[in-house]
Symmetry: C2
Subunit: 460 residues, 2 copies
């Protein structure tokens, strides 16, 4: 059994467990009360806030605890936008933010605000110059993650923060994926995090708002957490969150080096072991524990299921696992293959032998899934046929359209075209990605009577 | 050491502790994931939802978990109002709701909505007919607590629910104080609760929305908890919340009878033991564990401090403990004395001897506080003086204005008046309450050069 989905949630750190247990008896009372149980709870809360602020790199009175990272983002975005309402209602986000940021942006748009999404390169990073160019007179807030949750790519936060500072625009950094590894560099204005991502308990997020940043909490409030996070504090969990962040940080440098070596093995060896694989995300500017790759001709949900049966818990940004049947917005923004997508995110402490076993198991598992789906062999035989072909993949879900395309490309002569009809949203991403991987020419798409026609020209 | 503030937060129930520990290892993963750790978490979440729904008296798919009771109220009120936006924007609340409901109402008003507060009688209960009379064509939502958190009075929920049902208006019941004791009777539409009130962990609230109730969640959302509570589920705590509610309910009937007897002792004996005390709240239609009384000539904060030193943790709705320096909105709505207010709320398992010890300690503690403040003796000597007197208590906080009034009332003849000048908001409540307790005539108030003048006529 190996759990390789730390980017979703990390198993509880032993220190978190100890701190939680210890504070169950001391920290259940209302910290707003004046009697001894309340004062004890208040002491715990204050100490946790100090420890957390030290880890984040802010003042204790700049930091509040929220019920989750998602709620921290929602409150942070709404409060910062409202605080600068007079400046304007323009919001900037990167195209690869966590869904909590994108949902906050959608809510802002629904309320009449304007949102600019800054694109990313094929590695998943924003270009600081492009981000800076999106800043406007009426920009109320800019958001940028510290590192991407699906592919591990680190964002150029310092440089974007400089640009924002120069423009007088506050920058909110979603640091959920990186906070366990270290402070966020750069002159951010607001920062959010989530304890269960670093091995803390669920139920605890954090929102830091630098002094001087205009902030107007939205929705009904109360007197708790500086009026920024209403409701009774989740105290024993807050204590555990702070204690575990401190513990995780103490081990971070050594563990980062170790995990980086393990993910490097996966990055380099998966393409050797498995044909038709694309490793995605920045090879060097990345989180230590995350590596993501996509496998042609594979249905992500089936692959995850088979890996689970083999004892590996991994995640996928593949369209086929999402209830919405659209490919991951991150992979789409990067313009990389989404089909058969696998995210391996190693929790601290992952054993080397588990990674080796994963590398042993993966090739056979992918091959079995491909065989079941009738995927083409890695090397197709070239057959001459008519100059043009139409593949009707309407009603077939990914990866079938790409599989059918791969099967017939050898049937048209070099220079001939294959026209793939598909109504699966993932085809829009995966057919161009397949062309790039296979050195074929992607001509473009056009609306068809049903779905969309994707035109591919055989060039080799 | 005796903790008598269960209405704020109950100590963790042993079953909650066990369930929390057990699920720390099984329930840390993301229940939305398909691998085994995710499936295990999902099973725990589903089981907790079923157990909780059974205790609440609703279908599992009608119930979602929120980060706190406060957040459940905020989301419930906002979602129900938005769901019936076409009907109108009129909201009804009772004047003695928990602050979370009143804050939600304030936010609704700030957004252009209209709010009617239904008053209560001297015992703290709404009149069902008065509540029904507040229902209008454009009423989108009505809110009523199951029982009051400060004085323990039960509200006539069934009858108000009938009136709402007849008018086609959904009723949201804040059941935070009563859910540990049993299901809420009556045909409610939405219901909220908070686990740490029944001995569950902090970080868990619940929101039930009956099928057929129009509900449009507000703010950014995600796919968790039916789109009604975004953010990673606080799973081990949710499991503990459900397990402890079930456990508490199993003991509820016997424990309610036991606590009712103990609070009855306090209700009946405090006025015998301490002069100038008013016990507030309904003597029979009330929660088993709560009893509240106010002591003339006492500063609530000092009294709480002295009781804490004597080993008793109690709470107060007295103006003097509030950071806003206004008396509790509950006591104000009831029109009862707020000064020297003490709420005793016994957690299940409270030992009889702790209550007896409290009754031993209280008289001396109150007497000491009164002596320190220079309060008049219980029986004043009657002295004849001029027909009218002015007491200047400007700049003096409660209970000084009442103490000064009591000191001089004997100096005017029967029929003469005392004019008390005060700029403490609590005087508006406490001077009339003192008159009622002492059989003197409260003539009324009028603006003074500074503060307000309260006119009292000596009648005996």
């Amino acid at each position: 059994m190996a759990y390789f989905d730390a980017a979703s949630a990390a198993p509880l750190h032993p220190v978190a467990r100890q701190a939680l247990l210890a504070s169950l008896d001391e920290g259940w009372a209302d910290p707003a009360r004046l009697y001894r149980e309340g004062r004890r709870a208040r002491l715990l809360l204050d100490a946790a806030r100090e420890a957390m602020a030290e880890c984040v790199g802010c003042r204790p009175d700049e930091l509040v605890f929220t019920p989750s990272g998602t709620r921290a983002v929602h409150s942070g975005v709404a409060g910062a936008l409202a605080g600068r309402r007079r400046v304007g209602s323009h919001l900037i986000v990167s195209a690869v933010e966590h869904s909590s940021v994108l949902h906050a942006a959608e809510a802002h748009e629904a309320g009449g605000g304007e949102v600019t999404q800054v694109g990313v390169d094929r590695a998943g990073a924003v270009d600081p110059a492009a981000y800076a160019a999106a800043l406007r007179e009426d920009t109320a807030l800019a958001c940028l993650q510290s590192a991407n949750h699906e592919v591990g790519t680190e964002q150029p936060v310092s440089r974007v923060a400089e640009a924002c500072r120069a423009a007088g625009v506050p920058l909110l950094v979603d640091a959920a994926q990186s906070l366990g590894w270290g402070r966020v560099e750069g002159d951010w204005s607001l920062l959010t995090g989530s304890a269960h991502k670093w091995g803390g308990p669920s139920g605890v997020g954090l929102l830091a708002v630098r002094k001087g940043v205009r902030f107007a909490p939205q929705g009904p409030g109360d007197e708790r957490e500086s009026g920024r996070a209403p409701g009774f504090e989740n105290l024993p969990a807050i204590v555990a969150a702070a204690a575990s962040l401190r513990a995780v940080r103490a081990e971070a440098t050594a563990e980062a080096a170790r995990l980086r070596e393990l993910t490097e093995r996966i990055r380099s060896r998966v393409p050797e072991l498995v044909p038709d694989v694309e490793v995605v995300g920045d090879p060097s500017r990345r989180l230590p524990g995350i590596v993501t790759f996509s496998c042609l001709y594979v249905d992500g949900e089936t692959l995850l299921h088979e890996l689970d049966r083999a004892g590996f818990s991994v995640s996928s940004g593949s369209s086929c696992t999402s209830s919405t049947l659209t490919p991951s917005h991150v992979l789409r923004a990067m313009g990389v293959l989404s089909e058969g997508n696998v995210r391996v995110s190693l929790p601290p402490g992952t054993a080397e032998e588990d990674v080796e076993r994963f590398l042993e198991v993966l090739p056979g598992t992918v091959a079995a899934v491909r065989e079941k789906l009738g995927a083409p062999a890695a090397t197709e035989t070239v057959r001459a046929a008519g100059p043009d072909l139409v593949v009707d993949a309407l009603g077939r879900r990914c990866p079938i359209p790409v599989i059918e395309l791969a099967k017939v490309i050898g049937d048209v002569p070099v220079g001939g075209t294959v026209r793939v009809l598909s109504d699966d949203e993932a085809a829009r991403l995966d057919i161009p990605a397949w062309c790039e991987m296979r050195g074929q020419e992607y001509v473009g798409e056009e609306p068809a009577e049903r779905g969309t026609a994707y035109l591919v020209r055989r060039t080799s």
